[in-house]
């Protein structure tokens, strides 16, 4: 089969390797779509360094084409999405149901071969079946949605809350959709890029601005979510948290980033500042939400590339202009 291999920092190749064959509890999926995410770019640029070479791709969907002898409940032809997380199940955090903090963390597309290939080998337990009404080529959105659901699990999720979201890209818009279905009183979105704000408007989010000061919310917002990881946005976002409110750090900042805060304010206004890491018991719910149509895939996915243009897809993603970029390997 054809696959993409990142062989060294800033180097990738289209390679020809043997088709995977399933072990007893494994499943082979013909990849329908694989999404590009910041993690892929970090691996490509050598900032996040698993063992190279690696076949990237951890946001994925496809059709089951081979199953191992011990696999139950999955059959050939099933449409599936795949949770990339390979939690060890044995460490301190796994045994505390915090597998996203696993001490022996691995993931398909990061430390094991991923879906930037015609076929993907996955453990059975990572496979989630999709209803037939789901468009398989859009279902690569389920994995980022499952991260957003984890982020929401860190929030109080009180109906009638006012939400402020920094970043009108894929993740910001997913957060906005989750806020809406969680009974938000209002959802406001900040982005410096006017084109990105236009996308929010297309999805029905009319409170958009290039600066949060433009929103009429004098007491601040119950929930502020940063989906940018940019320190200037984080600093600004903290200023707009209502007393008793919550700030969710969802965007991944650079490793040494520092943001100043005032402990008196955290104490005196009972502010909660919390982080959210990857996926935790949230993939199945993302499948349900995606299948129920919570995301408008036509709007969320802006670019599609064939497998041999994987590098172009990465660079298009890096330019930051579009929304979700996906690669269709078959």
């Amino acid at each position: 089969m054809k696959a993409i291999a990142i062989t060294a920092p800033n180097q990738l190749e289209l390679i020809e390797i043997a088709d995977p064959t399933p072990g007893n509890s494994e499943v082979v999926v013909e990849v329908a779509a694989v999404g590009i995410c910041g993690t892929d770019l970090h691996i490509f640029e050598g900032e996040f360094a698993p063992k190279l070479p690696i076949v990237p791709g951890h946001e994925m969907s496809g059709e089951v084409v081979a199953i191992g002898s011990a696999v139950k409940g999955i059959k050939l032809g099933d449409q599936v999405a795949i949770d990339p997380s390979l939690h060890c199940g044995e460490c301190f955090y796994c045994r505390r149901a915090r597998g996203n903090l696993c001490e022996n963390w691995n993931a398909l597309g990061v430390t094991f071969p991923g879906a930037a290939a015609q076929y993907l080998l996955s453990p059975q337990k990572n496979i989630h079946k999709l209803p037939s009404r789901v468009d398989l080529k859009s279902a690569a959105l389920i994995e980022p949605l499952s991260c957003a659901v984890r982020g929401f699990d860190q929030l109080p999720r009180n109906p009638g809350s006012h939400y402020l979201i920094y970043g009108s890209g894929t993740m910001g818009l997913m957060m906005a959709e989750l806020a809406r279905i969680n009974g938000a009183a209002s959802v406001s979105i900040v982005d410096l890029n006017l084109d990105k704000l236009k996308t929010a408007t297309i999805l029905g989010f009319t409170n958009t601005a290039q600066s949060a000061d433009q929103f009429d919310q004098p007491r601040g917002f119950d929930v502020v979510i940063d989906c940018t990881g940019v320190t200037a946005a984080i600093k600004d976002g903290l200023k707009h948290v209502m007393p008793g409110g919550t700030f969710l750090q969802f965007g991944v900042a650079s490793e040494g980033a520092k943001v100043e805060i005032e402990p008196f304010w955290i104490y005196n206004k009972e502010i909660t500042i919390v982080g959210s890491m990857a996926v935790l018991h949230s993939f199945d719910r993302a499948v349900e939400l995606f299948s129920s149509g919570v995301l408008n895939a036509e709007v969320m996915i802006s670019d599609r590339y064939p497998l041999d243009k994987y590098k172009d897809a990465l660079l298009a993603f890096k330019s930051g202009q579009g929304r979700k970029t996906i690669v269709l390997p078959n």
């Binding site: 903090l101 009972e270 500042i273 982080g275």
Partner: protein
């Protein structure tokens, strides 16, 4: 009557004031005990806003001396006072966020408080305790209520590793509350030896002197860190010693405009939670019942009792080595 009147920043003196008369909805309390709190020192130095002139003292209780005709209390009842008066009608109050009521006022801060022989107190602020309670313990009910708020925010389930930063009265009560909440390990971190020894006699399983070489290596992987010192060093330490997925609860009052840094990358990767705990919203009843139940050891926390004329000199200098709580007996 004798009362301690703050007339301006840095100006406080005992003066003769008229004994208040009961009014509709307000009863007169003969003050039996009134705790001196770090906030009083902050107010005295102008670091925390207050009205002037005002009688300070917000941690107090006493005996009902003359009840208003509409009061459910009888003369001779022993009562604790919740100093924080809220409207009960605004959206924050109705949502249970009474500490953020826009019309919040406080006895001993904006209205005459408990550093006096008598105090006029709204009946809504009175919480009856049994007449057999040591009257000095009345001074501990308000700080206990603030600590219960912190415990609620920490959402302890039992079996946790808890670190308490700061060996003052809040820290010593948090040690005891953590023990009552079935913490597996409770580590007190404070500079004064006497305070460390006190904490281990009250339920801390171990204690660490932050002046020791390599002390940080002894402090690892805490599920919950209670920041009860209100200084930059402890705020930073809390971020270092919290476990991945752990919580930091900020109970300490750091002076306004003091800034610290946090790392948004670590917040995400470690799923940390930083939360403020302010005042005693709706926890005074539980605190009064807990103190009344004698489950807390309070006598070891009383360093000294003071008469009113002794207070100004005490406010002028930092607390003595090993001292925890001064209780004013007017």
């Amino acid at each position: 009557m004798k009362a301690l009147l703050l007339s301006a920043i840095d100006q406080i003196a005992v003066s003769d004031q008229p004994i208040p008369n009961p009014e509709p909805g307000k009863s007169v309390i003969k003050v039996l005990a009134s705790g001196l709190c770090g906030t009083d020192r902050h107010i005295y130095k102008g670091e925390y806003p207050s009205s002037k002139p005002v009688i300070l003292g917000h941690e107090f209780g006493g005996v009902v001396d003359s009840a208003s005709p509409d009061s459910k209390f009888s003369e001779g009842d022993l009562v604790s006072v919740d100093p924080n008066i809220v409207c009960g009608k605004c959206s924050d109050c109705l949502a249970g966020r009474t500490a953020f009521c826009p019309s919040l006022t406080a006895l001993g801060v904006n209205i005459n408080g408990g550093f006096a022989q008598y105090a006029l107190v709204p009946n809504t602020q009175l919480y009856k305790v049994s007449n057999g309670l040591n009257p000095l313990h009345l001074a501990f009910i308000e700080p206990t209520a603030c600590c219960i708020r912190g415990l609620d925010i920490a959402q302890m389930q039992g079996g946790e590793k808890v670190a308490v930063l700061g060996g003052g009265v809040m820290g010593q009560i948090m040690v005891q509350l953590s023990k009552l909440a079935n913490a597996a390990q409770i580590t007190m971190v404070t500079r004064q030896k006497a305070r460390r020894e006190l904490s281990t006699s009250l339920g801390a399983t171990d204690s660490v002197d932050p002046q020791d070489k390599n002390f940080e290596s002894k402090l690892q992987n805490y599920d919950i860190v209670f920041e009860c010192a209100g200084v930059v060093e402890t705020f930073n330490l809390a971020q270092k010693i919290a476990r991945r997925g752990g919580s930091i609860v900020v109970l300490g009052l750091t002076p306004e405009k003091t800034m610290v840094e946090f790392n948004p990358f670590q917040l995400v990767v470690n799923e940390l939670r930083i939360q403020g705990s302010f005042l005693n919203p709706l926890t005074q009843r539980r605190a009064a019942d807990l103190v009344d139940s004698a489950k807390l050891q309070l006598d070891p926390l009383i360093s000294r009792t003071l008469t009113l004329p002794e207070v100004p000199e005490i406010l002028d200098k930092p607390p003595g080595q090993g001292d925890i709580k001064y209780v004013v007996v007017p």
